[in-house]
């Protein structure tokens, strides 16, 4: 700030202005403000001062940059060294398969590490420049948890940690948010737990929900019995480039940006993060993030009265599964090993009460694994769906699973909606493509107007499966008569051929629409014709029809139309 003393040139004793910190003994410059006013400045002039302040800021930014580069150059150089060195070694020992594989594995690890470093730096840069965008798209919580667990499982296994996953009180499975960023947050936290816990430790992760003002708050907790953190360190944990410099853990690498990014992401989602930790005892990280949710819509039409055979060892998943199956009146039998499963199959065969679906959990014992069991079941029950319920990575096992006859996969953890909807889809599809979208039209009356006998019979056969009552007419005139001879509102739907003798479909529709009774205007009328020029369809609409079904009738499209009617 200016340390100024302004006086009149004519009368130097006339003080026009004096700043509090003006120092008479340190006058460094004189500035003419006007013809009769002079400003005396003590200390540095404001311009120099401003420049110096900027220089200081720049130097401090530079120091931060250098610190960052120094941190990063080590972190980037280390894996790069591994990649270059191991590539050279691989070339040198190109004929020694074991050494080659060893080198390639190391290149693989180093490359992935390098990639994660670069991603973190880019994320931080995006956050700092305000370019971070949080998506708000519908996602499945079940998929999020499954993906997260799939990603961290290999590291967990490598260090021999015991891992527990608890899912409590999840009512809303379909949430609106940024699934990729959420996965990044959870993976980062669990990865820290894995890294900062000595081998053969214990890590527990839980997810639960709380409902709050039209949104739900997702609670995530990750607890470990690792090296923990001091209070002093926890205060700095969100500063970029900080990491636990504890000598008990060697070889831990990272940018030190992870927790900083996590905090920024959680904040951007309107959430909060709490850390509770004690040195040598462990750490517990809790994250609460509010989400908007989509009301669960559960379809279980195909499930009721079906018979399932379960082969599952994992008691926790199985308990939940059994609970849901009971809720939806599914008859099931549970087996826990290969021999009891074979007995159940034989019994079903003998009593001629076949199963509608087989649910296999992850089994791997002396009698065989899940895929062997699936092959066995598939050979004797080729048309019955086999569903694998597992925390495996489906992408990795899909090919072998398909070859064993497994066509469907439900990831663990599963929730009520995802499980029931998935099973319903499996069983709906199992009824064959010809009836995959059959619908229930019991209590409805349909008038089928078609002059061609074979077409009529085929349409009748398809329509009968809907449970509707079907009447037929062979031409437009007959259709009008039938319609007129019923009580008001009797027919719900009329399927009308276009080209017919006596009276065509257009005229018949126009006549029905012009009848004095009200249902003539409201009854749904659909054209059935092979003429699919846009003009033909416009003509059908002009005649008063509600839609058009191309001939020959596609069963699925007909069902879709009837469903909408």
């Amino acid at each position: 700030m200016a340390r100024g003393y302004a006086v009149s040139k004519k009368d130097l004793s006339k003080i026009l202005y004096r700043s509090d910190d003006f120092n008479e003994n340190d006058i460094v410059s004189k500035v003419d403000l006007s013809d009769d006013t002079v400003l005396l400045l003590s200390g540095k002039d404001p311009i120099t001062e401003d420049l110096e302040r900027r220089l200081e800021e720049a130097e401090s930014a530079n120091i931060a940059k250098e610190t960052f580069l120094s941190n990063m150059s080590h972190d980037i150089r280390t894996p790069m060294n591994a990649i270059i060195g191991m590539t050279a070694l691989a070339k040198k020992h190109i004929d020694e398969k074991s050494r080659l594989i060893d080198s390639l594995n190391k290149i693989d690890t180093a490359s992935l590490h390098l990639l994660s470093l670069i991603n973190e730096v880019l994320d931080m840069s995006r956050i700092n420049s305000g370019k971070l965008q949080i998506a708000n798209e519908l996602f499945s919580l079940s998929d999020l948890i499954h993906d997260t667990v799939t990603i961290i499982k290999p590291q967990m296994a490598q260090k021999g940690h015991e891992f527990e996953l608890h899912i409590d009180n999840i009512e809303y499975e379909d949430l609106y948010g940024d699934i990729q960023r959420l996965r990044q947050i959870y993976v980062n936290i669990i990865n820290n737990a894995v890294k900062y816990t000595n081998n053969n430790g214990h890590i527990s992760v839980s997810f639960s929900e709380e409902k709050k003002d039209g949104s739900c708050v997702l609670l995530f907790n990750c607890s470990d019995n690792g090296i923990g953190m001091s209070e002093e360190f926890i205060k700095k944990i969100y500063d970029p480039f900080e990491r636990a410099g504890n000598s008990t853990i060697s070889g831990i690498e990272g940018t030190g940006l992870g927790m900083s990014i996590v905090q920024k992401l959680v904040q951007a989602m309107g959430g909060e993060i709490n850390i509770d930790s004690k040195v040598d005892e462990g750490t517990s990280v809790t994250i609460r993030i509010p989400f908007l949710y989509s009301e669960p819509a559960i379809a279980a039409n195909a499930l009721q009265g079906k018979r399932f055979l379960l082969l599952m060892k994992d008691s926790k998943s199985c308990e939940v599964l059994e609970k849901y199956l009971k809720e939806y009146q599914v008859e099931y039998e549970r087996t826990t090993d290969f021999s009891s499963m074979v007995s159940a199959l034989t019994e079903a065969d003998f009593s001629q009460k076949p199963y509608d679906c087989f649910l296999l959990g992850h089994v791997d014992d002396s009698t065989g694994n899940s895929l062997d069991m699936a092959s066995y079941i598939h050979r004797s029950n080729p048309d019955t769906p086999i569903v694998l319920i597992s925390d495996d990575d489906w992408e990795k096992i899909e090919y072998d699973a398909n070859r064993s006859g497994i066509e469907h996969f439900i990831p663990i953890p599963f929730f009520r909606k995802s499980l029931i909807n998935a099973l319903d889809t499996v069983l709906s599809g199992q009824q064959g493509s010809s009836s995959s979208s059959r619908i229930d039209l019991s209590g409805k009356n349909i008038l089928l107007v078609e002059d061609n006998l074979i077409n009529r019979e085929i349409a009748l056969e398809i329509l009968r499966s809907t449970g509707a009552r079907i009447d037929t007419a062979e031409n437009g005139k007959e259709a009008i008569e039938r319609f007129e001879n019923t009580d008001e509102g009797f027919y719900n739907i009329i399927l009308m051929d276009i080209q017919m003798p006596v009276m065509d479909g257009y005229s018949a529709t126009r006549n029905i629409r012009n009848l004095s009774r009200t249902d003539g205007k409201t009854v749904k009328i659909y054209a059935m014709s092979a003429n699919i020029f846009a003009e033909d369809i416009a003509k059908a609409r002009e005649a008063g029809m509600d839609g058009h079904i191309a001939k020959p009738i596609d069963i699925n499209k007909l069902m879709q139309t009837l469903k909408q009617a």
Binding site: E398, N402, I454, N455, S529, F533, E535, I553, D554, I555
Partner: protein, 600 residues
């Protein structure tokens, strides 16, 4: 084949001959002009005959398909196959219709093998039909892509019955359906995962032994080819290492051998270089330099597959690379781009008409989509103006007329109210009234070239020249507004035409028409768009009685059409418009003749 089927095919071929505007161009304008008028007359007759053939012969067969004998079914298959030759694509819509019908019938008959075969054929038909709007990301386009993906998915899902299907040919259809999910899906992860799965299957002795007569090695190569097509997504990130390595391996298998070829086919060599760039094995500078050599080594008059690739696709990819890396673009790169684009135009404009096929149009579509407009190269506006007349001559006349009619309207309105179009800033800022009028009218005439730009680049005329549109095709037709807008709005030189392309089918009061997300009031160009909504209607609905048409339009004043614009449509203006529609026809043909003569 049945007589009506042969007749239908012959008619299409004849229409394709008649469409050739270069025919008789050497014999002087008068002969050529008479020839064009005759050709147009004959084309109208042939189109009508084709519609009759479908109504009277094909549709009744489909209507009672369950009664059809084996010969009739075989004839339908042959008819469809002839219409859907992959290169010439005579009528993809009928191919789709026939296979949809056969599929519906076989579903009812529960004939599994036939269902599988028909699913594959239908999937291919839909794929080729959908190529006309490839790249569009509207909701409707996505819905149509998804239908295609589901057809292949259903065909591929029969893999679970592979061991119980006795017909080996059917087994082949299952494998190819499964593989073709990758060409129909827009989901990159699904595309890669499915292709990887098929590579496993076709390499697996377990499946090979069940169908030894199938061309497994050819399937394998084709599937690797499909995997290699994902190479351009390598640099987008987000791929797992398994996905990454699958793509890289496929590229090596498919493209690396071309490096050893003394006369390499650029179509195979460039993708290898592209893969090297995407994987980080070659930097941008090296890659650009490689492209430059390939482009330079391709003579502009090389019209085979490799030539078309080197002359059209590579310059487009070169521009795309510069566009994606502006910070590394040097002046010399832009100079080269200018050279490459000039050569591309020379190649396209001199392309022998007898060699023009769907692939040629595919390249045009690529250009329309990906032309990089930047300082130092011709503007998009210049390029498109030069291409339209050459490639879409029939449209050219209509576009010219639309521009002329709209400018008559604009002149009349301007005469009464010079500030009427002042929502458009570049018009408003001109103070001199005469200059302002000139700029306005020239702009409106140029709008004529672009208002149906989407339709032109989708090549819908290929269908409408031979028959009327089917219901789903007419739904696809609506995509042209967004298609045109997307391309015009992203280039500086054509931005001002984009809203006209987008909004001219939307009703004035927003109660009908398309696209729904065009909000008239938000567009500064809305008053020009209002004019083109009217002009387009006049062009399609004028059948010799302008008074009647004016009366009909005025009934829709305030709903479909702008009441203000229509209020200027008086007797005097109607007469001028009618003159453009009839008497001055020769003038437009003269312009087209001059244009093609200069190219010829």
């Amino acid at each position: 084949m049945k007589e009506y089927q042969e007749r239908y095919i012959a008619n299409i071929k004849r229409v394709n001959q008649l469409k050739d505007v270069y025919s008789q161009a050497d014999e002087g304008f008068s002969v050529w002009y008479e020839g064009r008028l005759q050709a147009k007359k004959e084309m109208d007759i042939l189109k009508k005959e084709n519609i009759d053939l479908l109504n009277k012969d094909l549709f009744p067969v489909l209507d009672s398909l369950y009664e059809a004998d084996a010969q009739t079914l075989q004839d339908l298959q042959d008819f469809a196959d002839t219409l859907m030759d992959w290169k010439t694509n005579l009528d993809c819509g009928i191919y789709v219709l026939i296979h949809e019908s056969l599929l519906s019938m076989y579903r009812v008959r529960k004939d599994r093998n036939k269902i599988i075969q028909e699913l594959y054929k239908l999937g291919m038909g839909l794929y080729y039909r959908n190529r006309m709007f490839q790249g569009s990301q509207t909701e409707l386009a996505k819905k149509i892509y998804f239908e295609n993906e589901m057809v292949f998915t259903e065909g591929g899902s029969y893999l679970k019955y592979f061991d119980r299907i006795d017909d080996e040919e059917t087994k082949g259809y299952i494998i190819r359906s499964l593989a073709n999910i990758s060409i129909s899906t827009t989901d990159r992860k699904r595309r890669i995962a499915t292709t990887a799965k098929v590579i496993n299957i076709v390499s697996d002795p377990y499946y090979r032994e069940m169908a030894p007569s199938l061309p497994w090695d050819a399937y394998l190569r084709k599937t690797y080819q499909q995997m290699s097509a994902n190479r351009s997504t390598l640099s987008d990130g987000g791929l797992s290492k398994e996905e990454l390595s699958s793509i890289m391996e496929a590229c090596q298998i498919i493209f690396e051998p071309e490096k050893e070829n003394k006369d390499p086919n650029i179509r195979w060599l460039w993708p290898f270089y592209e893969m090297e760039y995407s994987c980080g094995f070659a930097d941008l500078k090296t890659t650009l330099s490689r492209m430059e050599k390939l482009i330079e080594s391709t003579p502009y008059d090389r019209y085979d597959e490799s030539g078309l690739y080197g002359n059209v696709q590579l310059p487009i990819y070169y521009g795309r690379l510069l566009q994606n890396n502006p910070q590394y673009t040097k002046e010399k790169n832009i100079r080269f781009l200018k050279y490459a684009y000039d050569k591309m135009m020379k190649a396209l404009l001199s392309f022998p008409r007898e060699k023009i096929d769907d692939f040629y149009f595919y390249d045009i579509a690529l250009l329309v989509f990906s032309y990089y407009e930047t300082e130092g190269v011709d503007t998009y506006h210049d390029v498109i103006s030069r291409l339209i007349g050459r490639i879409f001559p029939q449209n050219y006349i209509r576009m010219k007329k639309a521009g002329e009619i709209a400018s008559l309207f604009a002149a009349k309105i301007y005469e009464n109210d010079p500030s009427h179009f002042d929502d458009i800033s570049f018009i408003k800022e001109i103070k001199d009234l005469k200059e302002k009028e000139d700029v306005l009218l020239n702009y409106v005439k140029d709008c004529g070239l672009y208002y149906d730009f989407g339709l032109t680049s989708m090549n819908m005329k290929k269908i409408t020249d031979i028959r009327d549109l089917f219901e789903q095709e007419s739904e696809i037709f609506t995509l042209h507004t967004q298609f045109g807008y997307d391309n015009l709005s992203t280039r500086e030189s054509t931005k001002r035409f984009a809203d006209i392309a987008r909004g001219h089918h939307r009703w004035y009061d927003q109660s009908d028409g398309y696209p729904k997300d065009y909000i008239r009031i938000e567009s500064p160009y809305r008053r020009i768009c209002d004019l083109f909504a009217i002009c387009d209607h006049i062009l399609f609905e004028y059948h010799g009685d302008m008074d009647k048409l004016t009366k009909e339009m005025k009934e829709k004043s305030g709903t479909r059409f702008s009441p203000l614009a229509l209020s200027y449509l008086d007797e005097e203006l109607s007469a001028k418009i009618e003159k453009v529609l009839t008497l001055e026809k020769e003038e437009y043909y003269r312009e087209l003749y001059d244009l093609i003569s200069s190219i010829h």
